[in-house]
Symmetry: C2
Subunit: 288 residues, 2 copies
């Protein structure tokens, strides 16, 4: 099928898990009513972005996919509405903890779990304390509307993850996100870089990119300052042009219809994949 309507949800979350999941549920309904068939909520939407602090008790929030209320609720919703929902969640697997994503298909089944490969660390984003670097490798999934690749937040800065997913057959790239101000430097606004990195992936791989970021001010007990998530969620076409974006402080669903046949033709015509020189790229895959 050539055309597909997709949505990215830009939402503000509280400390109430039930309330957060219900909020996403509500906006998935609204996006589906507008025709969206693949609907992307932000990263770790069941709670506040807790990685601003390093608190042992917070590991208690991690659960296996089958027991995680964000996942099980989205499964029911996906089946009811006949939509795909790439669902970010804090995963526990034995003694390991991952920043993961359950790819939920339009019958409500989990097609697979991707575990975030690139784990950031620094003031406001203490993810290396919580998350083991993902051991799933990059993943792509066939849907009724085309093959999709999903990276999680920090993955979005890496041309490597976008390219690997493209080489695995992805035709669209989805990135659930939690990014905002830098607590150590409140003059630092990374939002333009954040967009540029992903618009670059769209251009280099000639495919649409969909990014859903949380928005709003959040506080965590034990954290000196508040964290302001900057939104700026967007959808690009295969040229990297923004075809849907929301204002910084607006919440809701961005919806856009993408033409994957046109993207495929553009991709062939540009010849980027034809002219690759994998024999010269060895250093990228080496520990240097």
């Amino acid at each position: 099928m050539s055309k597909v309507t997709v949505a990215a949800l830009q939402l503000a979350f509280s400390h109430d898990e039930g309330e957060n999941i219900a909020l996403v549920e509500d906006h998935v309904h609204k996006a589906a009513a507008r025709g969206a068939k693949i609907i992307l909520p932000p990263e770790l939407f069941e709670g506040p972005y807790f990685c601003t602090v390093e608190d042992e008790a917070l590991f208690g929030r991690a659960r296996p996919a089958a027991e995680h209320p964000a996942v099980t609720t989205m499964q029911r919703l996906a089946r009811d509405l006949g939509v795909y929902i790439p669902t970010s969640f804090f995963e526990r697997d034995g003694h390991h903890h991952y920043n993961s994503l359950a790819m939920i298909d339009d019958s409500g089944e989990i097609m697979g779990v991707y575990r975030k490969s690139h784990i950031p660390d620094g003031p406001g984003y203490e993810e290396k304390y919580y998350f083991r670097p993902g051991n799933s490798g990059f993943k792509v999934w066939p849907t009724r509307y085309g093959t999709i690749g999903v990276g999680i937040c920090w993955d979005q800065w890496y041309p490597e993850s976008a390219r690997v997913m493209a080489l695995m057959g992805a035709e669209m790239l989805f990135y659930p996100t939690a990014i905002g101000t830098e607590p150590y430097d409140d003059t630092l606004d990374t939002s333009r870089m954040w967009r540029r990195a992903m618009q670059g992936h769209a251009v280099s791989n000639c495919m649409p990119v969909i990014a859903a970021n949380r928005i709003g001010v959040e506080e965590m007990p034990g954290c000196a300052g508040a964290q302001t998530f900057y939104g700026h969620s967007f959808i690009t076409n295969e040229w990297g042009d923004l075809v849907a974006e929301v204002e910084n402080w607006q919440t809701g669903a961005l919806v856009a219809t993408l033409d994957l046949d046109a993207a495929r033709t553009h991709r062939a015509g540009m010849g980027f994949f034809r002219d690759r020189r994998p024999e010269l790229y060895g250093r990228i895959a080496q520990d240097v």
Copy 2:
């Protein structure tokens, strides 16, 4: 040394080789007078961009670096002015022909030759007829002002070439270019994609990018239509912000001063290189 002033030349070329080389010479002088220490002319500046046609006679323009007037003139100029000039030229090496670049240091010596790795092909850009895909691999060179990597035109669309040069130690990326309208589709303007791809490299690698494109309308005997080169040359900082750009139809030198120490600190702080997962990138270096 932390700060370096660099220049990109945006110029229009004729069919007169002597005139073209003299034009570049003049603008290298002007850029040097404004303090530039590394000065980048556009791709294949000694003539019109001839790859709009496939004409056997044009192979006669290729010469070894030591005999090429563009290279030897820039060597003299580099020595006289004490500047580095990455110099694009059409290279002959035995039976092979390459789209090459001689890295000329500030004493006028050739530090090495890079041969364009990615060769485009299509209406208006029939490069596969003329150029063997480069066998040099990617190259970086230490200068008095930092280590620089140079890609040639089509290389600039590839996140792989930028990343490999970064992993080899590059602190700035230079791209001489010849790009403009698409003869088969005069509504197609790739200039915004062209910038986006390279601004993406700047963000992902946290380093400045300098791109010099030719400008103006050129005709080649035997070519049905004219080719309009669109300029849009630019210099970014390590955030991908444009710190110097020229209007579409303006010619001359863009000059900017870059702070490589600040870029290095930013690069460390972002942690993109720290968090890479080379063991997951194998597919990039495989023929898949």
